[in-house]
């Protein structure tokens, strides 16, 4: 799976970082950084939760 961010929508709410810190980090520059663009299957549940909870619905998963 591949994590795709819609940068027009992202407003750095950082909910993704709360539920999947291995994959998402909002840094001091107030921008989201995707730490693992293709996270391992073991993180699927966490990433799906991040996608669901993103207040702006800025995240999607694309299956390879």
């Amino acid at each position: 799976m591949k994590v795709v961010v819609n940068w027009d929508l992202c407003e750095s709410n950082a909910r993704c970082m709360e539920v999947a810190p291995e994959v998402f980090e909002v840094r001091a520059d107030d921008r989201l950084h995707v730490l693992q663009e293709r996270p391992p299957e073991a993180l699927r549940a966490k990433v799906l939760n991040a996608v669901r909870l993103c207040p702006k619905q800025a995240l999607t998963i694309v299956e390879d």
Partner: protein, 412 residues
Amino acid sequence: MKLTEVDLTNLDFFVHGDPHEMWTALRREAPVYWHNKGGQRGFWAVTTYNTAMEVYHDPRQYSSERGIALQFNDVATTDNAGFGMMMIATDPPRHQKIRKVISDRFTPRAVMPYEPHVRRIAREIIDSVVDRGECDFVVDVAAKLPTAVICEMMGIPREHWDTMFMLGNMSIGTEDPEYQQSRTAMETGSYAQAQFFSYFSKLIDERRKRPGDDLISALAHGLVDGVNLNDLEILFNAFLLIIGGQETTRNATSGGMLALIQNPGECARLKQNPGLLASTIEEFLRWTSPVTHILRTARQDAVLRGHKIRAGDKVVVWNASANRDEEIFKDPFKFDAGRTPNDHLAFGHGEHFCIGAHLARLELRVVIEEVMRRMGDLELAGPVEKLRSNFVAGIKHMPVRFKPTRTARVAA
């Protein structure tokens, strides 16, 4: 309550009854319900969490450009309700473009530096009532902070804050006799909006010439597709900010403190464990759900949980109900200061997620801390008066009594 007794347009029930009786019946028996009562135009009432999310996550199908609330929906137009201009009533892709003009002012990191300032305002507000040992918690405390904070952010001088407060009350309290002052609901809303627009017109002219770092300046100079917003777009969005800033956080504050008064065990738990502050704030939001409902209009025929929705149908998402959904929240009718997870929909979700969410959380954190520090043993000293509205879960008055701590001891 029986389904046949449900009438979500009966505003008096929102004052004197418990609307949760209606939503609980709807969630149980008809989570997507064709509501056609009270002589008003029918609408679909969505009362469960997952269906609410489904509607929120499809802004192209469930449009905001034909109104966002039940009140005046029949008579709302582009001219009087800012369709396609005011962010809350604008669909993608334009919505997000307007939003970008100010959204960097509202991220968690962007609002963090306001904290000392918000705290200073909160202390001044409490200083002004603390000696009395009693006050109207809404008018004297809970409403004062959000008004001060949003006015400062918009660059509205202090001498006009009382006017902003009064006009905000009228804008949201159009159906409440206290704010109507013998006008009709429509006249009340129109009057307040006209007053706001005339006031903001002058501010906009001023900020066009001499921009500051306030939100009015940002709106006046911001570019959407390389073009400045026009006057009406700026006015509607300034109006949105002053209403959104004032009329929501105050109710989360008052309703949340009321929940703490009514649940002394949870209050004691929070006092003993300040680490619960963050979860208490989220529980305030879930519990009070300051924006009771949000309306959408179906663009095309669609199926929602097996129901045929026709193009043009009104679909009303009841946030207050979704936030008590038994399938999502364990013991939803228990106020739990430590509730985790707590993925409530008090700020909506998706495209139109509340832009001020982090500012609201900051204000709530500061006000809870300061009230608990300075207004000990808070208790009710008279009847709680609710706003006559099915849109905003307002508390107009909440007389309280407390043991004053006169000096604001600096803890941090």
